[in-house]
Amino acid sequence: MIELASITKTYRSRQGDPIHAIEDVSLAIKEKEFVSLVGPSGCGKSTLLKLVAGLVTPTRGVVRIRGTEVREPFPDVGIVFQSAVLLPWRTVLDNVLFSIEMLGLRADSYRDRALSLIELAGLAGFERKYPWELSGGMQQRVAICRALVHDPSLLLMDEPFGALDAMTREEMGFELLRLWDERRKTILFVTHSIPEAILLADRVVVMTPRPGRLALVLDVQLPRPRTVEMEFDPRFKDHSDEIRRLIFARRQEPAPARRA
């Protein structure tokens, strides 16, 4: 569904020197596939997400969605950020309907869908509450509903559980898989956490920084539905080790041998 062909993205910093956010990345993502993108800071994960969304254009190379080149923002997408950024003057329901309004569609026709999504996300009864009345995890659930209400074919998530505590984070991961089970979409999930990347996805894309490059694309060998116990599965460990080795390889480059 998504095709990234030799993408390079370079920014110009204030001082004028170029920042190579991404260099020569090629990737193909299938319909309804859950792909996680993992790598250390500065490896270009967020930039890649913005390229797919059409929010930025590549310096070189082409982004294609279903065969069509993406040069403008692609509206059939839902985006979830690290912070929920809900509108504080709107209720939960109105926040979910924000997508509909901004797309220029009629909110009334989507009200039922919004309500069922809110219920699906475990927030039944909170439709009329305001963001400040909700916990961080709940706000992020609203953000996910907002990203799903217009039934996009693509969901882009930029470290959506990064700001949550470890327990909520784990819970939210499984919530996401449950939601995905109900309505299958293509998901591109960016994370810092290697276990999270493996546990949730069909495939894991590993990137290394400076410049952002694709180091590895890994097929996750674990069956669905995923469970917490799978973290102890030997295949999980293998994947985890492989990814870790790749990411930390740079840091542990052996120092040149000292002459005696």
């Binding site: 969304a53 950020f81 912070s83 950024v85 509108l87 003057w89 901004m102 400040w132 009345e133």
Partner: protein
Amino acid sequence: MLLGTLVVWEITWRIFKIPLFVVPLPSGILAETWAWRGYLLTHSWVTLYETLAGFALSIAVGTPLAVMLVYSPVLRGALYPLLVVTQAIPKVAIAPVLLLLLGAGEVSKVVIAFLVAFFPVVVNTATGLAATPPELLDLSRSYRASRLKTFIKVRFPMALPFFFSGLKVAVTLSVIGAVVGEFVGSDKGLGYVIVSATSYWKSNLAFAAMLLLSVMAVGLFALVELVERVVCPWYALAREQGEVVEELSVKDLEKVRAAAG
């Protein structure tokens, strides 16, 4: 605390026997306020009118200016330095010149009030408009929403708390601006009353006028806060949610436990 200050004031006078024409007593001021109430009311209206007109003008001019500054980097580069320069010049210094240009009537006072008030409106509103979380702007862009729609539904409401901060500062400055104008040359308004009363050593009356000015400034400020609470309640409510109302002492806890049985 206010009452305490007033009591100390009265006592200090009695001990040191400060002449009444230098610093009058609170009791004296209040008596004078009542005695001259008609006169003071007439002049209060004038100052109030000048203040409100200047304030309204600062909003009418300042807000569109703020919008332009945020949306046009070109205008920002051109106008911002100009704005800073106009603010750096003390209005007290410009006031006499303005009175020469515009006469000693109310217009000159309105202009001075406007000049002091519009900078906080511009700066605070612009800051508010620029403070929209970039994620929301990205989201709006991904939905291909027009810039106008993004402004109305996202940027503008987000900026309202900042806008009101600016208004609160501006309204108090408007009062000052109007009074400064009256000091420089006027035959109406509370500023005029202060100048004329002090020149006749009628300190009670001068203080009475000052009292009314304070009431006016505080009252206008409270009014803006009230409007803020109505228009953008989420800001205050979000703040309040996070507050601990009262610490429970062990005694209170025991009471609660006893009541639960």
